[in-house]
């Protein structure tokens, strides 16, 4: 079972403007997998996530989630939305309730989840590092990073099979980012499908099982993310501006030292000290 895109086209109809956002997309997102979507501004990433969660319907072609076609009926779309949770790019677009607690518990209540709501909330805020005293605040009166975490919590709370996150790392400090990485890895282990749009290439080495690259609404590349050197070479080929340290590692990878995996700066410095000794 999976989320399947078959010949999907999508145009936004806006006043008299018809804006082409996606063109002939064919792909599959699987469970127990972390799929990362990359692409420049306006390439169609957010549109793709909204199609996967049946918030938008294809202009032509079909999106099929666990065998259910989103174009079929309102009932099918309800079923899909229960299976695919989406965290929006700007958290505020997701908020509509008076308190953080209500916001996080809305979906589980709505979908008739039986567990104790308070327990669900306490567990999630602990994992994401949301301060308990924020629960009674308005979600609109939080700092940027706090809003992002609450937006993520409001989706994880109903435990969907697939979690689509649009730029979930943006605005998080180091602890927040690390926690989220751990959480995403845990969700994968629990069998969830994670679909993540991000601009942070550094994080790919930690999370990406596979990488999809969009450009001007087209899927231009798909590759595995697990072997660092391949990841690096693919991104380079696609002309991404690389993290500085990756370019430094590449110097060693392409010389005869046959470095294949990512190593942190501490290890690279040791290696250099070693070279120096042998050279001298």
């Amino acid at each position: 079972m999976s989320i399947l895109f078959k010949n999907v086209f999508f145009n936004y109809k806006f006043a008299k403007q018809d804006i082409k956002a996606l063109e002939n997309i064919n792909l599959e997102f699987k469970k127990s997998t972390i799929s990362v979507i990359l692409g420049e501004t306006g390439s169609g990433k957010s549109t793709l996530l909204q199609l996967a969660s049946a918030l938008l319907l294809p202009s032509s072609g079909s999106v099929i989630v666990e065998g259910i076609d989103s174009s079929l009926s309102e009932t099918s779309r309800y079923e899909i939305r229960k299976k695919v949770g989406i965290v929006f790019q700007y958290p505020e677009s997701q908020f509509f309730l008076d308190t953080v607690f209500d916001e996080i518990t809305f979906a589980p209540k709505n979908y008739g989840i039986k567990e104790n709501l308070k327990d669900i909330v306490l567990k999630i805020i602990k994992e994401l590092g949301i301060d308990e005293k924020l629960l009674k605040e308005s979600p609109f009166n939080l700092s940027g990073g706090e809003k992002r975490k609450v937006a993520i919590a409001s989706v994880l709370s109903f435990s969907p099979d697939y979690i689509a996150m649009d730029e979930p790392f943006v605005g998080l400090d180091k602890t927040g980012k690390n926690r989220l990485v751990d959480l995403i890895l845990k969700l994968k282990d629990q069998g969830k499908g994670c679909i993540i749009v991000t601009h942070y290439l550094e994080l790919l080495k930690d999370i990406a099982d596979e990488v999809f690259v969009l450009k001007n609404g087209k899927l231009i590349s798909k590759f595995e993310g697990k072997i660092f050197f391949e990841l690096l070479m693919n991104l380079k080929r696609l002309k991404f501006e690389m993290p500085t340290f990756w370019e430094i590692l590449e110097v060693f990878m392409s010389s005869d030292n046959k470095l294949e995996n990512y190593i942190p700066p501490e290890e690279l410095v040791e290696l250099l000290i070693d070279f120096k000794k042998r050279g001298a």
């Binding site: 936004y12 806006f14 006043a15 403007q17 804006i19 990359l38 692409g39 420049e40 501004t41 306006g42 957010s46 790019q89 700007y90 505020e92 677009s93 301060d131 009166n141 939080l142 700092s143 940027g144 990073g145 706090e146 975490k149 649009d166 730029e167 943006v170 605005g171 998080l172 400090d173 180091k174 602890t175 927040g176 980012k177 601009h199 290439l201 550094e202 002309k239 991404f240 501006e241 690389m242 993290p243 500085t244 340290f245 370019e247 430094i248 110097v251 060693f252 010389s255 942190p264 700066p265 501490e266 690279l268 410095v269 250099l272 000290i273 070279f275 120096k276 042998r278 050279g279």
Partner: protein
Amino acid sequence: MIVLKAVSFSYGKEMILKDIDLRINEGEFVGIIGPNGSGKTTLLKLMNGLLIPNAGEVEVDGMKTNIQEQNWEIKKIAGYVFQNPENQIVGITVEEDLVFGMENVGLPVDEMKRRIKEVLQFVGLEGFEKRSVNSLSGGQKQRLAVASILAIGPKYFLFDEPTSMLDPNSRKDFLQVLKKLRESGKTIVMISHDLEELIECNRLLFIYDGRVLLDDKPVKALKDILENGEMIKYVDIPDSIRFQILLEKYGLIDKKDYLLKKIELIKVVKDLVNTF
């Protein structure tokens, strides 16, 4: 000059900023980092009078933010780019949004036209004049938010994570925009969780629980953070910067009092390898 004198601020309950004294000099580029919820955005909004302190004073070029007429004048010379561009954008179309800000500072029509073209090109949104703002992608909105402040052309730029939604290549282009602003003598205060963007700043401030814990040259500040068990929890020091600090520490390169730019660091490493 922007001066904060014994500034404290609260949104109603607890104190968010606590007794802050700070001075931003003309022509400086000041970077701000710190944990989520520590008060960075609040601090920036105080600098152009979007928020008024509960205690203490904020002065911009001698004018006080808590005096209404002066507050208006301050907003004209100090432009704040919101963390969430959706909170900043007011127009229906891209063009209208740009015009709105420029009308407020009373620019003539011809000059507005010229600037619209110029700033949209600057941020890579050429041809988007007539686009509805609601039809923009997340990153396009952020570019518009930056463009509308560029169009006003204030003396002080207050950027709140302005590249957070940009792809790596666009982020690099934004650094060029920053460079141009600096060359034309503008003052920049910028919050970011991405330290590579702040490499060239004159001062790096670390905000923690409503206080300025560090205010130093970036190399110095980062070395302090690396050695501090609490601060390092919140600051993602990029591999490249840690690498430079380590190379210096183990005597593989000479000690520097500045951080190397990307091309410089790569060159240093290549040279190093060649000497072995």
